[in-house]
C-alpha cells in the first residue's frame, strides 16, 4: 500500500504550508510551488466547537451531499417578478391587525427605536390609529399581532415593516414554484423603513398604494411572464453593483425593461412620468427586487436534511438571526452588533441603531457583501481600496460551498460569487459572513445616517451548530 507514495516521487511537488512562513518562502526561492495558509486556531481555539466539528466529520459524506443539493437548487432557481398586489391579498396567513417586521421574532416592547417608529407609522397608515399616541396605546395594549416577514414568504429592508394595505412585488421562482414578496422601495430620506412616520411619509405610502403599486402591477401583467431578476442581477454585477448597497445599474436596467410595459398601461403620461421619475430618483429601487429574488431562491434551498448551508440571515436592530437549511424553521440568534461605518454629516456612531434588516438575505444568496469585488465604487465601506474589496470577496470563498454559475465577478476573471454559506466552515475558520449595510438612526423617524460593515454575532452560529450536532449525531 505505498502506491500514492511512489506516485508522489514522480510528481511535481505542490506544497501547502500551514504555519511558519519562511518554509514557503524558501520553497519559492528554490523554484517550487507553494501556497501559504494564513492559519488561525480552529473555532478561535474553542474546544467545544472543535469537538463538534470533529464529530460532524463522521457524517461528512451526508453533509456534503446535502450541501451539494442546496447549492444546486440555489443556482437553478429562476426568480421572476410577475405582479404587484396588496399584501393582505397575497401573503400567506396575513390576517387581521397584523404587522410584519425584519426577522428574527421580537416583542413590541423589546423592538429597536426605528422598528417601533415604523410600526407606529403603519398603524396610522392603515387607519387603525389617528396619531402617534393612539398608535402607541394600541400597540402597548397588544392589539396588533407582530410576526417576522420571513414567516410569510416575505422580506423587508431595514425595519422590514409590512402592513396589510401595502403593495408588494410578487416574485416567483419559476424552477421550484415558490413565491416571495417585498414592499416597494420608498426612496431615501424620511421613510417608514427607517422608522419615520410623519404625515409626508404616510402620504407617500398612500400614493404608492393607490397609484404606483397598481400601475407597476398592470405593467408587469402586460409583460407576458414578468421580468427575470436573475438576469438583471447578473448583468448588474458586471456594471459595478453588488445589489445590496449599490443598486444603481440594476435599477437602471429594471427601468429599461419595465418602461415599454408601463407605457402600455391605462395610466396617463403624467402619471407614468411621475412613476419613472420616482424610480429613477432612487438608486436603491432595485433593492426591493433583489431581496425577494434572493428570498425566493433561498426558500427553495431550505429544508434539505443534513445541509449546513445558511438559508437566511436577518437582523431586527436588537437580535441577529440565522436559519440553516437542515434545521427547519428555527432561528438561531445572537445580539445584533453596531455597524462600523461612515456617517453622514452631523451623525456619529452614538446615534446609530444596531444592525437592522432582512437585506442580508442577499449574502446568503451569493450577492451583496459576497460580491463586493464586483463593486469598486463602494470600496470605501471595506477599507478603501479595490484590493480590499477583492480580499473581502476572496475570504468568503473560504466559508462557502461553491462558486456561482450565474453571478460572476469581472475583476476576478469572471470567477463565480461565493455561494452557499457553510455553517461548519464559519466555525472552523472563524471567518464570519461579510455584511455591508445601511445604518439607521436609533431614534424613530430620522432615517439613514450612514453605511458600513458589520459582523454577525458568533453566538448565533455556535447555537446553530450545537443544534445541528444534537439533531444529526445520535
Amino acid at each position: 500500500m505505498t502506491k500514492k507514495l511512489e506516485d508522489l516521487f514522480k510528481e511535481e511537488l505542490n506544497v501547502i504550508n500551514i504555519g511558519l512562513k519562511s518554509f514557503a518562502k524558501n520553497l519559492k526561492h528554490e523554484g517550487f510551488n507553494s501556497v501559504q495558509v494564513d492559519w488561525k486556531p480552529p473555532a478561535g481555539g474553542d474546544k467545544e466547537m472543535a469537538a463538534i466539528l470533529d464529530d460532524l466529520e463522521k457524517i461528512s459524506d451526508k453533509i456534503k451531499r446535502a450541501n451539494k443539493e442546496v447549492v444546486e437548487r440555489m443556482q437553478k432557481s429562476e426568480p421572476v417578478v410577475v405582479d404587484v398586489q396588496t399584501a393582505r391579498d397575497v401573503l400567506p396567513n396575513f390576517e387581521g391587525k397584523m404587522i410584519l417586521h425584519a426577522a428574527p421574532p421580537e416583542k413590541w416592547e423589546d423592538m429597536s427605536g426605528p422598528m417601533q417608529g415604523a410600526a407606529i407609522g403603519a398603524c396610522i397608515y392603515e387607519g387603525w390609529a389617528e396619531d402617534e399616541n393612539s398608535a402607541k396605546k394600541m400597540l402597548n395594549a397588544g392589539e396588533v399581532t407582530f410576526d417576522p416577514a420571513h414567516h410569510h414568504n416575505a422580506v423587508g429592508p431595514m425595519t422590514g415593516i409590512v402592513s396589510p394595505s401595502m403593495p408588494v412585488w410578487i416574485v416567483e421562482n419559476k424552477s421550484y414554484g415558490n413565491t416571495a414578496y417585498t414592499t416597494l422601495n420608498e426612496g431615501l430620506g424620511k421613510v417608514l423603513r427607517f422608522g419615520a412616520n410623519g404625515p409626508e411619509v404616510i402620504e407617500k405610502l398612500k400614493w404608492m398604494e393607490k397609484t404606483l403599486g397598481p400601475a407597476l402591477g398592470e405593467a408587469l401583467r402586460k409583460s407576458e411572464g414578468g421580468i427575470n431578476l436573475k438576469n438583471i442581477t447578473s448583468q448588474a454585477l458586471h456594471m459595478g453593483d453588488e445589489v445590496h448597497n449599490r443598486n444603481k445599474a440594476a435599477t437602471a436596467l429594471f427601468i429599461r425593461e419595465l418602461t415599454p410595459y408601463l407605457l402600455k398601461t391605462s395610466y396617463s403620461n403624467e402619471v407614468i412620468k411621475k412613476i419613472i421619475k420616482f424610480m429613477a430618483g432612487n438608486e436603491h429601487f432595485y433593492l426591493n427586487l433583489s431581496m425577494p429574488a434572493s428570498k425566493a431562491t433561498m426558500d427553495a434551498a431550505h429544508g434539505v436534511e443534513y445541509s449546513t448551508v445558511l438559508t437566511a440571515m436577518a437582523r431586527n436592530g436588537v437580535h441577529f438571526g440565522i436559519r440553516v437549511s437542515g434545521l427547519g424553521d428555527e432561528w438561531f440568534v445572537g445580539e445584533a452588533l453596531k455597524v462600523d461605518g461612515l456617517y453622514f454629516p452631523g451623525y456619529t456612531e452614538e446615534d446609530a441603531c444596531r444592525d437592522l434588516g432582512d437585506s442580508t438575505i442577499s449574502e446568503t444568496a451569493a450577492v451583496g457583501g459576497f460580491a463586493m469585488a464586483a463593486a469598486p465604487a463602494i470600496v470605501g465601506f471595506v477599507g478603501g481600496t479595490v484590493s480590499d474589496s477583492i480580499r473581502f470577496t476572496k475570504d468568503m470563498y473560504e466559508i462557502t460551498i461553491t462558486e456561482n454559475e450565474n453571478f460572476t465577478i469581472p475583476p476576478l476573471n469572471f470567477r463565480g460569487t461565493p455561494t452557499g454559506i457553510d455553517l461548519t466552515k464559519i466555525i472552523e475558520t472563524g471567518i464570519l459572513p461579510a455584511i455591508n449595510t445601511g445604518i439607521a438612526h436609533k431614534e424613530p423617524g430620522i432615517g439613514q445616517i450612514g453605511a458600513g460593515l458589520v459582523d454577525p454575532p458568533e453566538e448565533c452560529f455556535k447555537n446553530a451548530i450545537r443544534a445541528f450536532a444534537q439533531k444529526y449525531i445520535k
Binding site: 508522489l8 516521487f9 500551514i18 514557503a24 528554490e30 501556497v35 495558509v37 470533529d54 484590493s387
Partner: protein, 516 residues
C-alpha cells in the same frame, strides 16, 4: 470656532470616498464638524440641516466639490491643507494587489488544486487535527510541530499507512522530497541515495556528505525522533523504506536513528531483509550486530553512513575523508603548544541534536565521563542551570534552552553567551562546535559564532593560555549560506575547521588525551 469653506470646481469624488475622508478630518483635534460633499441640491440640504451651508457652499454647482469645516480658527489652514492632501492621495492610492493568502486547508486547495503535500508547523495542540484533515484529503504530510501526544502520532501514522501517504513527524525538522527542501534542509543534488531518518541533523549531515562525494539524493524522508521507540514501533520508517525500495530513482537506502528499542530494531531488520536494494543502517551508538543475518551494511557514525552509501553507488571504496595520523598530530601539537597547565577539558556547544549525540558517542569510547544535558548515562546528566562539568557536550537545541526562544539553528547568537561563559573557566582547553547550514537555518551562523570565538580566544590569551576552537560545518556550496564562505569565517578567527563532525571530534579527543 469658525467655519471655513473651500469649493473645488469640477472635481468629482464618489460619496463613499468623501465620507471616509470627512471621518478622518473630523477626527483631528479642534475640528468640530467636517463635511466634504458634491455640491448637489440634496447635499446642500444636508449641509443646511447640519448648520454648515455657508455662502460659498450655497453657490457651488453639482459638479463642484465642497469642503466645509467647522473648528478652531488657528488650525483651519492646516486642516484644509490636510484635506487637499488626502484627496490627492485618494486619486493616486491605487495600490497593487497584495498576494492573497487562503485561511484554511480547503481555501488553499481552492487556490492550488493540484497540491500534494502539506507542511504543518502550528502549535502542537492543534497539529493533530490539521494533519488528520490533510491525510483525509489524500495529502502527504510533514508535521514540523512538536508537543504532539504519542497516541496521536500513532493514530496519524497508522492512518497514513492505510492511505499510502507520507506522515513525516511530529517533530520532523528535515526532509527533501523530489528535491524540495522542506523546513530545515540543505541544497543537495539529486541522485540515487534515499534516506529515511528519525534524526534531523543526522539526515542533514548524511545528505550533505553524500552530495560532497559527488553523489546525489533521491529522497530524504524524516519520521520524527520517536519513530523507533517502543510505542511508535517504526510504522513510518517501514512504509517509507518499502516505497524507496520500489522507487526507480533510488538505488541505496540509508536508515538513520538513535538506537531503537530492542523489539523495534528486530522488526525493522526483519523488514530490511525483504528489501531488494542495498540498505545502510546507522543507528548512532547502537549495536552493530543488528545487521547480522541480513544483507544490510552497518555504519557506526554519520560520516561512515554517507561514505558507504556513496561507495555502493560508485562501486569504489570511498577513501576515508579523515586526515592522516601525521596531520592530526601536527594540529594537536600546534593547538596545545600555548595552553596553560590548568587547561584540560572539552566543552562542546552544539546546535544540532544528532551531531551532539554523535560527539558524545565517539568521545565516550575513550573517556568514561562525558557530561551532557542529554547524556548516554543518567548519572552524567547536568544539574539544573546546566553548568558544565569537566568534559561536557551540550545540545543547545533541547527544550530547556528553546522554551520561549528560537532554536539555536535559527538564532545562533544564543550560543555566544554560553561560549564566553566557558572561556571564563580556566580548566577549559577546547571548545567543540557545529555549524548547520541550509534552508531553515540562520543566514550567517558562522559569522555569528565567530564574534564569540574571537572574544573567547582573546580572553584566554590575556590570562596566559590558549583556547582551541574546533568546528565542523554541515552544508554544501549550494546552500544559501555557502559552505566555503562559512568555513572561512570560522578560520579567520582562529578556529580549526574539519570537514565532518566525526573528524572534529577525533581531533578534540586527541587533544584531551595529550593534555591529560
Amino acid at each position: 470656532m469658525s467655519k471655513k469653506a473651500l469649493v473645488k470646481e469640477g472635481t468629482y469624488f464618489d460619496s463613499v470616498t468623501l465620507m471616509s475622508i470627512s471621518k478622518d478630518i473630523k477626527a483631528i483635534d479642534g475640528v468640530k464638524e467636517a463635511t466634504i460633499i458634491m455640491g448637489t441640491e440634496a447635499n446642500k440640504g444636508i449641509l443646511e440641516s447640519a448648520g454648515l451651508l455657508v455662502p460659498e457652499a450655497e453657490a457651488a454647482r453639482p459638479n463642484d466639490l465642497v469642503i466645509v469645516i467647522d473648528g478652531d480658527y488657528e488650525i483651519m489652514d492646516d486642516v484644509i491643507k490636510k484635506t487637499n492632501q488626502m484627496l490627492a492621495e485618494q486619486k493616486s492610492s491605487f495600490d497593487e494587489e497584495k498576494e492573497y493568502n487562503p485561511r484554511s486547508l480547503d481555501g488553499a486547495l481552492d487556490v492550488q488544486s493540484n497540491s500534494n503535500i502539506v507542511i504543518i508547523s502550528v502549535p502542537g495542540e492543534y497539529a493533530t487535527r490539521e494533519a488528520r484533515k490533510a491525510l483525509n484529503k489524500g495529502l502527504h504530510v510533514m508535521l514540523f510541530s512538536d508537543n504532539v501526544p504519542v497516541e496521536d502520532e500513532i493514530e496519524l501514522k497508522k492512518m497514513a499507512v492505510e492511505k499510502g501517504l507520507l506522515m513525516m513527524g511530529p517533530d520532523c525538522g528535515t526532509a527533501i522530497i523530489n528535491g524540495a527542501p522542506l523546513s530545515f534542509a540543505n541544497v543537495v543534488s539529486r541522485g540515487p541515495v534515499g534516506i529515511v531518518a528519525a534524526a534531523g541533523t543526522g539526515a542533514q549531515a548524511v545528505s550533505t556528505l553524500v552530495d560532497r562525494q559527488g553523489v546525489g539524493l533521491s529522497q530524504v524522508i524524516g519520521t520524527g525522533g520517536r519513530e523507533l521507540q517502543s510505542k511508535v514501533k517504526g510504522i513510518e520508517m517501514i512504509k517509507d523504506m518499502k516505497a524507496l525500495d520500489k522507487d526507480d530513482n533510488t538505488e541505496v537506502i540509508v536508515l538513520i536513528s538513535k538506537p531503537p528499542a530492542k523489539e523495534v530494531s528486530k522488526k525493522i531488520m526483519n523488514e530490511v531483509k525483504k528489501l531488494s536494494k542495498p540498505v545502510i543502517v546507522n543507528f548512532l551508538g547502537g549495536d552493530p550486530s543488528v545487521v547480522e543475518g541480513t544483507d544490510a551494511i552497518w555504519a557506526g557514525n554519520l560520516e561512515k553512513a554517507a561514505l558507504k552509501a556513496a561507495s555502493v553507488i560508485t562501486g569504489e571504496e570511498k577513501s576515508d575523508i579523515s586526515l592522516s595520523e601525521e596531520e592530526v598530530n601536527n594540529i594537536v601539537e600546534e593547538e596545545t603548544a600555548k595552553m596553560s597547565e590548568k587547561q584540560k577539558y572539552i566543552r562542546g556547544l552544539y546546535t544540532g541534536g544528532t551531531l551532539t549525540s554523535e560527539a558524545i558517542v565517539i568521545l565516550s569510547e575513550k573517556f568514561s565521563e562525558i557530561y551532557s544535558n542529554n547524556p548516554l548515562k543518567k548519572e552524567l546528566k547536568l544539574k539544573k542551570g546546566l553548568k558544565s562539568i569537566k568534559n561536557t557536550i551540550i545540545d543547545l537545541g533541547e527544550d530547556e534552552f528553546t522554551r520561549g526562544k528560537p532554536h539555536p539553528m535559527i538564532e545562533p547568537s544564543l550560543r555566544n553567551d554560553k561560549l564566553i561563559e566557558e572561556a571564563e573557566d580556566e580548566e577549559v582547553a577546547v571548545v567543540l562546535l557545529d555549524v548547520v547550514l541550509g534552508y531553515g537555518s540562520h543566514m550567517d551562523p558562522a559569522g555569528e559564532v565567530a564574534k564569540a570565538i574571537k572574544e573567547a580566544k582573546e580572553k584566554v590569551v590575556k590570562r596566559g593560555g590558549y583556547l582551541s576552537v574546533i568546528a565542523s560545518v554541515c552544508g554544501t556550496d549550494n546552500d544559501p549560506q555557502n559552505l566555503q564562505v562559512q568555513e572561512e569565517k570560522l578560520r579567520k578567527v582562529g578556529a580549526k575547521v574539519f570537514p565532518t563532525n566525526v573528524q572534529a571530534v577525533r581531533v578534540v579527543s586527541k587533544i584531551i588525551s595529550d593534555l591529560n
